[in-house]
Symmetry: C2
Subunit: 371 residues, 2 copies
Amino acid sequence: MSWLTATYLIDAQADEIEARAQALALEQSVECPLEAIGDRRVLDEIVARVDAIVPVAPGRYRVDVKIAVETTGGEPAQFMNMIFGNCSLWEFVRLVDLKLPAELAARFPGPTHGIPGIRTLLGASERALTSTALKPQGVPVAELARLCEIFARGGVDIIKDDHGIADQPYSPFVDRLHACQRVVHEVTQKTGRPVFYAPNLTGTPRVLRERAQIARSAGIRVVLIAPMLVGIPAFVELVEDFPEFVYLAHPAGGGGRIDPVLLFGSLFRLFGADAVIFTNYGGRFAYPPEACKALASAARKPWDLLRPALPVPAGGMLLERVDELLDFYGKDTMLLIGGNLLVARDALLERTREYVAKVVHHGSAGIGVHA
Amino acid sequence: MSWLTATYLIDAQADEIEARAQALALEQSVECPLEAIGDRRVLDEIVARVDAIVPVAPGRYRVDVKIAVETTGGEPAQFMNMIFGNCSLWEFVRLVDLKLPAELAARFPGPTHGIPGIRTLLGASERALTSTALKPQGVPVAELARLCEIFARGGVDIIKDDHGIADQPYSPFVDRLHACQRVVHEVTQKTGRPVFYAPNLTGTPRVLRERAQIARSAGIRVVLIAPMLVGIPAFVELVEDFPEFVYLAHPAGGGGRIDPVLLFGSLFRLFGADAVIFTNYGGRFAYPPEACKALASAARKPWDLLRPALPVPAGGMLLERVDELLDFYGKDTMLLIGGNLLVARDALLERTREYVAKVVHHGSAGIGVHA
């Protein structure tokens, strides 16, 4: 018999926290009053149990709940159901942490490549990494390919679709993929330096699979995907069926009552993200610096047999902040700067080169370009 | 050129709401500063625009944003991305309403059966409907089948798996499905009264499809599914590929910053739910009565060509409240009472009959059993 521990923040008055914690344990397991249960084994081995209640702020408690591993069936949708199914509907509950026995973590793919695989692919064993985004959505394929070429010539490691670019009439998936892949291939041929285009994979499961197949046939090695939009189970299946891809996981649609450190740093990694994009502090989004640091740590920390995932801070980042951000996150990081390059317009190539140089030379006193 | 309108509640001070609303419009469309955009068509036809800002409470505003329909690509994952992708990450934003042009709504399946189809299937043209749940998870298949038989003999219309019952070793999907389906078939043969077992469909997309195929082969007509757990795109694909099923949509995993009235009442319906389960007021969950009424109305109201979906209040409901609830929701409703029947233990059949009689006779002064 084996248990996972899920930790929740529960808002409650002192005289109601016990009842709320107990109600959560029932809701997340048997979903009925204990007096309706006549089976001893269910009471002993299936009913979730409150393990600890610790006050953390006035009217707020940190509650550990032990949930039977057997109830997850080892399946991603059911696993999410057991840790945050019905109780997600309670406004006063947030899921903030998880401890999984190794045999449960082993049921999920984890990063196929992770940081070491990405470094090998990019031929960059030590330095911090660079990425950027093709945007805005709405421009035609030729314009996206033109931007892609400039970014590639500028030395960016990974050039991804903006996550809003799907299969709209103005830049259909197949045309875009081939145009951008051709461009990065040509630049790599010319410069000998690896550069990768990462198309955005989205759609219903069948469409997702068709697009992945097209990407595979075109020799794509890195893809962008938003697990909370395509659905976690579809993401897991794709990781298992297309293990050659490096998966950049995008957080879109992931807002809610699961703590972002847990969702993007740990769960996305568990489900197979090789790199996790998250919204950086001080940009367009509101995470505090310590949450960003915790998220990056969760992605990289030793965790059973799971490879470390690459943290990718993003969201309204400025070129001027590269040194600050690399000091903050360390070199096992890929920066993602998009809009702040594009504002350069006609000087995009120069600004891209400046971005790349800043990252590559960071902390190295100017030596070792593309080390 | 066609636009949808998404309405958000945004928490902000008076002097920052304009900027927040404008930032949301950019985030939900082009995701970059306007000065990075050189393409006139993108500025005119792709950039989302703030349409109205109305104060609704101190520090809170209702903001209408027009989003270009073209950006959704007519695909469910990308549609969700455009209405609540990146902006879901902002703690100060909630998505509360949507207005879709008819041609966009027509891109999604909507209920294949809806209220009229469910009434035809059940042979119940007028009265309110009954459902219950097999629980707790953890008991063996034989016990679930025993409960299923009692519920069926007691006259319940639809007997569903508890949504925590997936494919765990203690009650494997295939065995359970066949055992419960056999039971309801036998009771129907004996009584001539239609009764349906609704297995819970979950899993990664391929597994989901395999299980749906097994359900189809076994003659299953009603299924339970939690769209936020399997993923909305997988749900939509299933609805399109298995149109013979009546889909009971379960809200598990759906907590977050999308208003439940919108998510469960309107979006689940749009994506193909024939019936929407939601947590009733005064039970284990915290929705106020007016939200429950609004949710039921959203599910049933006239909406382009979409059939009405059946509201199914649930969650800690008591037999004693049947009259109150049917007065509140009206007869185009299916009640879902689970645990409160099971507490009867040895008197389960009697209590089930009492439940069914209360619903069937409600408002009819005792005449017209199973009208």
